[in-house]
Symmetry: C2
Subunit: 255 residues, 2 copies
Amino acid sequence: MCQLLGMNCNVPTDIVFSFTGFAMRGGHTDTHHDGWGIAFFEGAGVRLFVDHQAAIASPVAALIKSYPIKSRNVIAHIRKATQGKVALENCHPFVRELWGRYWVFAHNGDLKEFAPVLNGAFRPVGCTDSELAFCYLLQQLRERFGDNAPPLAELREAVGELARSIAAHGTFNMMLSDGAALFAHCSTRLCYVVREYPFATAQLSDEDVSVDFSQVTTPEDRVAVIVTEPLTTNERWTEFLPGEMKVFVDGTPLP
Amino acid sequence: MCQLLGMNCNVPTDIVFSFTGFAMRGGHTDTHHDGWGIAFFEGAGVRLFVDHQAAIASPVAALIKSYPIKSRNVIAHIRKATQGKVALENCHPFVRELWGRYWVFAHNGDLKEFAPVLNGAFRPVGCTDSELAFCYLLQQLRERFGDNAPPLAELREAVGELARSIAAHGTFNMMLSDGAALFAHCSTRLCYVVREYPFATAQLSDEDVSVDFSQVTTPEDRVAVIVTEPLTTNERWTEFLPGEMKVFVDGTPLP
């Protein structure tokens, strides 16, 4: 299985602290050493870094840990291959364009007997069930809403329905973002924390690193971090329920 | 205007030497300081690095210069903004998926009165004429060939026709690759060199760096480097003719 990390904020924020702990699981504190990837939205653009090396050994991961790229929506993934060989084209997150915006997707889990009919609008390049699910999801959104993006409430309903239908084939913990909202669906395991004023010090679980967020934030900042397993030892993480999807906007889950 | 760099090889090869000279033009030996980008195919996958900082100041460019990523097809671009603000979404190369493979595109030049009708299959995320041309090009390929990629000879003819029709709107020096072939169209300026056995020492124009390729190659290796302005002082670069398109496969232009 793999692990997922997402961040959704109301102002561009760097993910160095959370990624530092998360990347340790890529071969050090955990066994997810079959590649990793991270995508940052910056305005309408996306920076995608993928590597088939273990995150702890990757010079690209070292760059991410030292270079504070600021973003309002980030999705990261460390992989333990279950389907699909260890190759760059099978590394999450995946990126496609729909409605003139980029969509970023990462998945943790396995899908069985999942063979949706694709119409060719979005086709997998690699051989994972995850990329297939992403292509199917975007195809269905485009079929449903045509050439223009719907309001967020309709999008939320559609993504939720599609996630449930895909999750019927197995485990479908996933994160999806169009740069405005971050959709997180839980089959088995996902949790989140919202950091906001008054900020406190957080201590990583996977490495002896802590940060006092009150020193690096303003009172208006708000950051939601969503992850497979809690990243810190002294914050209260909220567990998703199995089958639950949450949509994060401006650093908080929509009610 | 911008500058383009492409590499097409018969075995995975690193581009550290050529990129080192090319990146110097991103704000040092030349004035292309409005962002840069580079895309490497690795198998079916693509690594894309884009940055809106000048290439000489970018920590990501420093990584590329020190980390030898091996690839058979690379396209790089340094930007001097003429249309579109300086933003990540306007940085070349652009990537889209068609026929289950990634396509990478970069462009140097300006297009005037270029407003093709898009059917929604591929839509620009940023606001450059370049990304619009790329979306139009892929849309037309898909309309022409349907759901399956044609043989290379047919693809070459179609890309050539489309490049000529787009070039009627202005300057269209461009590079396009699907990971197998590299298509290079010249409106005003493009040149190439093929490095093959017996290899010699090459000296960069933009920095005091040379490399003896005979020490780092095997006799079977063959590498074509395509660029806006020659990168070395002691190799014989072949100029493209205006209006000419060449297709590079396995490190050599097709006859």
